[in-house]
């Protein structure tokens, strides 16, 4: 490879990059053929990539070479066809990670920039192999970077060029895996805590239509991933379910805030109502939960894998109580309206909790739920869910109403453990918790136990 560097140096930036890609291809092919396990690209090669493709400065003294915009476009085209023409999955994956796996060095910034452009282009011209590689990348990379990639794509397709949404829409059929990871990234990105962190309407519509057409889409990554138990640290959730629940539950409050601002700004609101979209999305999420018992049973994971994390739910409920407090304080005028929206939020929360718990997506007792919901205002359904159904059915056929966490199997963490100090996050970091939940002790829920807050019908 040392020889290669010598031969690359005299070339112009584009042909050097091209040459290196060519060599990389041959090198990885040989690597795979040699059968060494695991096939690993050596650091020398990675350095060459940083020097001749990412153009990171070799050292502080020599400034990196720069490519013109046209050269960069040409390079992207070459990369696109390079991945398109390589027929072997393994080779493609190795090449993609040689190029785009984060190395924790200075080159990562240009790496991310080039990746964003490449994926954006792959979406535009429908390069499925690149989208598949990107889907894997989105599974293995720290969520912060995943969010950045998602942000680039949303900017490119939803903000910068009007009318380009349909192109993005196509990824659903082109690469469902990528689509699923994209949804997870986007729901992680937009937490609805502020206006900036509210998804653009086009994006929302697109996601709702995807999931309505095929609810199993959100489970694609989960279905295709063999659970080794070793999820990369701080990667995205295995499914977008947690993010979607957060969206649906918070939406009535978040969009009320938006519309209020729009009204005070005097801008005419000609955008379509988001209410029905979230209502449909919420229903889809519940329907996905309904699919879970069969899938979990097939995988032998029922009761062992929690697709919804108590931590993130706890974060959600604490967000909610804050938002509901604010809402109460700030709106005296239209209190009836506010009340209805608050109730809608709590209804959805209760529904998500109940359905998730009943279908094995949430592994906890009602006692645990009562703990995280204790600060929320009164809602009939939530009370009903927290207290659990009255057991008047002596019917032996009645299936268990909720999963009891004191099951024989030990829970598997589907959720990657967060590093103690996350890398710089562009927005409020998600609540970090240790992987086990000492604060929610496994406690059998006594069915039919009287609960003081039964809803008053």
């Amino acid at each position: 490879m040392g020889d290669i560097r010598q031969s690359l140096l005299p070339r112009d930036v584009l042909s050097a990059a091209k040459e290196l890609l060519y060599h990389l291809d041959i090198y990885i092919c040989n690597l795979v053929q040699s059968g060494r396990q695991p096939p690993q690209v050596d650091s020398k090669t990675l350095e060459l990539v940083e020097e001749f493709i990412l153009h990171a400065p070799k050292d502080r003294n020599t400034p990196g070479r720069r490519m013109s915009a046209l050269q960069e476009l040409q390079l992207l085209e070459i990369m696109c066809s390079c991945f398109q023409e390589q027929s072997r999955d393994t080779v493609r994956q190795l090449m993609f990670s040689a190029l785009f796996s984060l190395q924790g060095n200075q080159a990562d910034e240009s790496r991310m920039a080039l990746l964003g452009k490449l994926v954006s282009m792959a979406i535009a011209v429908g390069r499925i192999p690149i989208l598949e590689c990107a889907a894997t990348w989105l599974q293995r990379t720290h969520r912060v970077y995943c969010i950045r990639l998602a942000q680039v794509l949303v900017d490119d397709y939803c903000s910068m060029v009007p009318g380009s949404v349909p192109t993005l829409q196509n990824i659903h059929s082109a690469s469902p895996r990528f689509c699923c990871q994209f949804i997870t990234a986007v729901t992680t990105l937009y937490d609805l805590n502020s206006e900036e962190l509210t998804p653009p309407l086009e994006l929302l519509q697109m996601i709702v239509s995807w999931i309505q057409d095929d609810p199993r889409l959100v489970l694609i990554t989960f279905l295709n991933t063999p659970l080794s138990g070793s999820q990369p640290i701080s990667s995205l959730d295995l499914t977008p379910l947690g993010g979607l629940v957060r969206w649906c539950v918070k939406a009535p409050l978040a969009y009320r805030r938006d519309s209020k601002q729009a009204l005070t700004n005097g801008t005419t609101q000609n955008e379509p109502e988001t209410g029905p979209l979230f209502s449909a999305l919420h229903l889809s999420v519940l329907q996905v939960f309904m699919l879970l018992p069969n899938i979990l049973n097939e995988k032998g994971l029922f009761g062992r894998l929690a697709l919804l994390q108590m931590e993130s739910l706890a974060a959600l409920t604490s967000d909610l109580s804050r938002l509901l407090d604010q809402a109460d304080k700030h709106t005296h005028a239209s209190s009836a309206d506010t009340h209805a929206l608050s109730q809608l939020t709590l209804d959805r929360l209760a529904q998500a909790l109940q359905v998730a718990m009943a279908n094995g997506a949430l592994l906890c007792s009602r006692e645990d739920l009562r703990a995280i919901c204790s600060r929320l205002p009164h809602n009939n359904l939530l009370q009903l869910v927290l207290s659990g159904p009255v057991m008047y059915y002596n019917n032996i056929h009645t299936p268990p109403l909720a999963f009891s966490p004191h099951a024989a199997h030990s829970p598997i963490a589907s959720h990657p453990t967060h590093p103690t100090h996350p890398a710089h996050t562009p927005h409020t970091p998600l609540a970090t918790h240790p992987s086990s939940h000492p604060q929610y002790p496994a406690q059998p829920f006594m069915t039919g136990m009287p609960f003081p807050f039964r809803p008053s019908h």
């Binding site: 029905p276 229903l283 209760a350 279908n359 659990g388 009255v390 109403l401 809803p455 019908h457």
Partner: protein, 744 residues
């Protein structure tokens, strides 16, 4: 109870939301169901939302859940009965189609269970049967268990519900739906006797279906059309009577399911399967009815040599096959001859047809024929003599039973060859069925159980068949019975309707039979009854090529038959010919019978100059006699050739024949009462003649005769242009009594 209240609360919230935000309503119900999975109302509410939105797959899924989890809920059963009703109905409306689609989404096992349970809850036999039939059609394996029971239930229902006809809803289901499933199921072993019983039930149904009469509203239309037909004597394509739009509904069934497509073919299908399963002889697949007859004919030859089971099996095969061929061919024949009897047969293309003696040789020289007819007389007498010893009256049928020709105007009946072929096939099948005591006995059993005696159409065939066989006495008694049935009732429609047409038909056929038996007086009595009901055509018929070609058929032996259209146009000439035939022999005997001779002369005018030879023979006879008395001459003879001939006869050259042709001449000679003469004159000679009345009366007896004759001749010549058929029609009506009395 608190749980109850929880559920009510949850369902109530969902109901409140469903119109504005159906997604939210569903989210509530999904949540509710995870809380109270055993609550029926929650799931029913979910189902109702999907059903009302006509979402087939999700509604089907929920119905399935309810069916599994709440099998005892009456609400579920109400829903299932709505769905099964949609399955049974042939309604094409959107909701019915949705319900059928919903059912299709269910797994087969559930469909099966659902239908079975729905069947159990059904109390109406027909509905129950339809339901079970849905099951059997979808799940062939259930045929073994339920097929025969269902069939028997339907056959029992037929008895217990006192249905009037084999064409009823129970039989239709049995024959068209259940039976094919049962006999085609190879997992079932049915005894041959049961198979044959079912086969006969099917045959009875299909035959009665095909031969069912027109519905009442169509009958009225048909009558009107037939009336026009008989009036105008031709086919009529009236645009307001379209037979293609016939409607027929079997009581208890929808219009669509009342339709049986290609009944004869279906019957043949069943016969093929039954034959194969009963191990009948010969080709497994019965290709056609004609083939079938050939095969059983063949089989019949071996019958005497067979014994035991083989023999009885063979007997059954021959009887069933031959009977089906018989009824089918007889139907085809009668539907051509009497189309108005049947629903769905195009009755307007042609009116009824009558099988009668062929009289095209009536103008032949009497000498040629006399021998034959005399011989027939003798034979008849012989037969009469034997009557005492043999039970059948004219058993050997005047020796005419075999090889008789049936003539028919081919332009008026385009399907003549098929019709005659059907008639022949039917007769052959009949003969086969009566060729053997064993066969006859079995066939009679079938006839008795089907009550074929009451099938008018079949009786028409039988009558025509025995006429063909020359068993006229038998035919007459059959015709009398039919005539009694068809006699127009006093309160009924005008005599010009269908019933009177049928009545005419029967009378003409009777007349023809009487004629064939030599009973001329009876023959004339019958046909004059018909003539009085006919209206003569306005125009004299132009001669058809067949009429002209008739000379060629002269040499026929005189025992042919003819299919005659039942129209005034065709019937009146036939009546005239038949009368001529009746009088011809009498007129030319050695004994003098001027009245008969006169009638002959009058009748010979029709179809002139076909009868020229006979006329000349009559003139010869008059010359020999030297005189001739026929008082109706001037009333009814308008033929210029004849008038000339008679005028000539009076001249010295003609032989000075003494002709008494004026009505009053004889009367005045015999009875010199002027009053009576006047009366007769007024009655018989109108117009000009009335002016001569005084003249005639005052002139004395002989003096004015010559003058009167000349005047009458002159007047008669001026009548030559009169419509001959009107004249002859008047002759028949006015002289009816004399005509009849002049025959023995």
């Amino acid at each position: 109870m608190s749980a109850q209240k929880d559920c009510e609360f949850l369902v109530k919230r969902a109901r409140e939301l469903v119109s504005d935000d159906p997604c939210a309503a569903k989210a509530w119900l999904i949540t509710a169901r995870t809380l109270y999975p055993a609550d029926f109302n929650i799931q029913y509410e979910m189902y109702i939302i999907e059903r009302n939105a006509e979402r087939t797959a999700s509604a089907g899924r929920l119905l399935y859940d309810m069916f599994i989890n709440f099998p005892e809920q009456p609400t579920v059963w109400r829903e299932i009965s709505v769905i099964t009703a949609a399955l049974r109905s042939d309604s094409q409306d959107k909701h019915a189609q949705f319900l059928r689609g919903l059912f299709e989404t269910l797994p087969g096992r559930v469909q099966c269970e659902m239908l079975l349970k729905a069947t159990e809850q059904c109390f109406n036999t027909l509905e129950k049967a339809e339901m079970l039939l849905l099951l059997l059609k979808r799940f062939p394996e259930s045929v073994v268990q339920h097929g025969v029971n269902l069939g028997e239930t339907l056959l029992e229902a037929e008895v217990s519900e006192n249905v009037e006809t084999p064409v009823n809803c129970f039989r239709k289901l049995f024959v068209c739906d259940v039976l094919p499933l049962v006999i085609n199921n190879m997992d079932m072993r049915l005894p041959a006797s049961l198979m044959q019983k079912y086969m006969l039930k099917a045959a009875e149904f299909y035959i009665c279906y095909v031969t069912r009469g027109p519905s009442p509203d169509m009958q009225i239309q048909g009558k009107a059309a037939l009336f026009q037909c008989s009036q105008e004597g031709g086919s009529l394509k009236s645009p307001n009577v379209s037979r293609s739009s016939q409607r027929y509904v079997i009581d208890g069934l929808s219009e669509k399911s009342s339709v049986v497509v290609e009944p004869w073919e279906r019957l043949l299908d069943i016969l093929a399967v039954v034959g194969a399963r009963c191990e009948w002889q010969g080709d497994k697949g019965q290709r056609s009815y004609v083939d079938m007859l050939l095969r059983v004919k063949e089989l019949c030859r071996y019958l005497p040599g067979l014994e035991g089971d083989t023999r009885s099996r063979c007997c059954s095969q021959v009887v069933i096959c031959a009977a089906l061929v018989l009824f089918r061919s007889a139907f085809l024949y009668v539907s051509a001859v009497q189309p108005a009897l049947f629903q769905g047969v195009n009755a307007l293309s042609a009116g009824p047809w009558i099988l009668v003696e062929d009289l095209s040789s009536v103008y032949n020289d009497v000498e040629v024929e006399r021998g034959a007819v005399k011989h027939a007389h003798k034979k008849r007498k012989l037969a009469d003599g034997r009557e005492k010893t043999m039970s059948s009256d004219d058993e050997e049928g005047l020796g005419k039973g075999r090889g008789r020709h049936i003539l028919v105007n081919k332009t008026e009946m385009p399907s003549w060859s098929e019709t005659l072929e059907s008639f022949r096939t039917a007769r052959e099948s009949w003969d086969l069925l009566h060729s053997h005591d064993g066969l006859e006995a079995e066939f009679k059993k079938i006839c008795a159980s089907w009550k074929t005696d009451s099938w008018l159409w079949f009786r028409i065939f039988l009558t025509d068949m025995i006429i063909y066989q020359g068993q006229y006495r038998k035919a007459l008694s059959s015709l009398h019975q039919m005539a009694a049935v068809l006699q127009p009732q006093p309160g009924q429609q005008s005599p010009s309707g269908q019933a009177s047409l049928e009545h005419h038909r029967a009378l003409i056929q009777q007349a023809s039979c009487h004629y064939a038996l030599g009973e001329y007086r009876m023959a004339c009595e019958k046909l004059l009854d018909v003539v009085s009901g006919l209206v003569p055509p306005n125009h004299e018929p132009t001669k058809t090529p067949e009429d002209l070609g008739r000379v060629k058929t002269k040499t026929r032996k005189g025992n042919d038959l003819r299919l005659l259209p039942c129209t005034s146009k065709a019937m009146l000439p036939f009546c005239l010919q038949l009368m001529l035939a009746c009088f011809k022999l009498r007129a030319f005997t050695d004994n003098r019978d001027d009245l008969s001779l006169g009638h002959v002369v009058v009748l010979l005018q029709y179809d002139w100059p076909h009868g020229e030879m006979l006329f000349l023979k009559a003139v010869d006879k008059i010359c020999q006699q030297g005189s001739f008395q026929y008082e109706n001459f001037f009333n009814y003879v308008t033929n210029i050739d004849m008038l000339e001939e008679f005028a000539y006869l009076r001249t010295p050259e003609g032989g000075r024949i003494q002709l008494e042709l004026l009505p009053n001449q004889g009367m005045l000679i015999k009875n010199p009462s002027p009053a009576l003469g006047v009366e007769l004159n007024t009655l018989l000679l109108q117009g000009v003649q009335a002016m001569d009345r005084h003249h005639t009366v005052t002139r004395g007896i002989t003096k004015g005769v010559k003058e009167d004759f000349r005047l009458a001749m002159e007047r008669q010549v001026s009548r030559c242009g009169e419509n001959l058929l009107s004249v002859l029609h008047r002759f028949c009506i006015n002289e009816k009594i004399i005509i009849i009395q002049s025959l023995p």
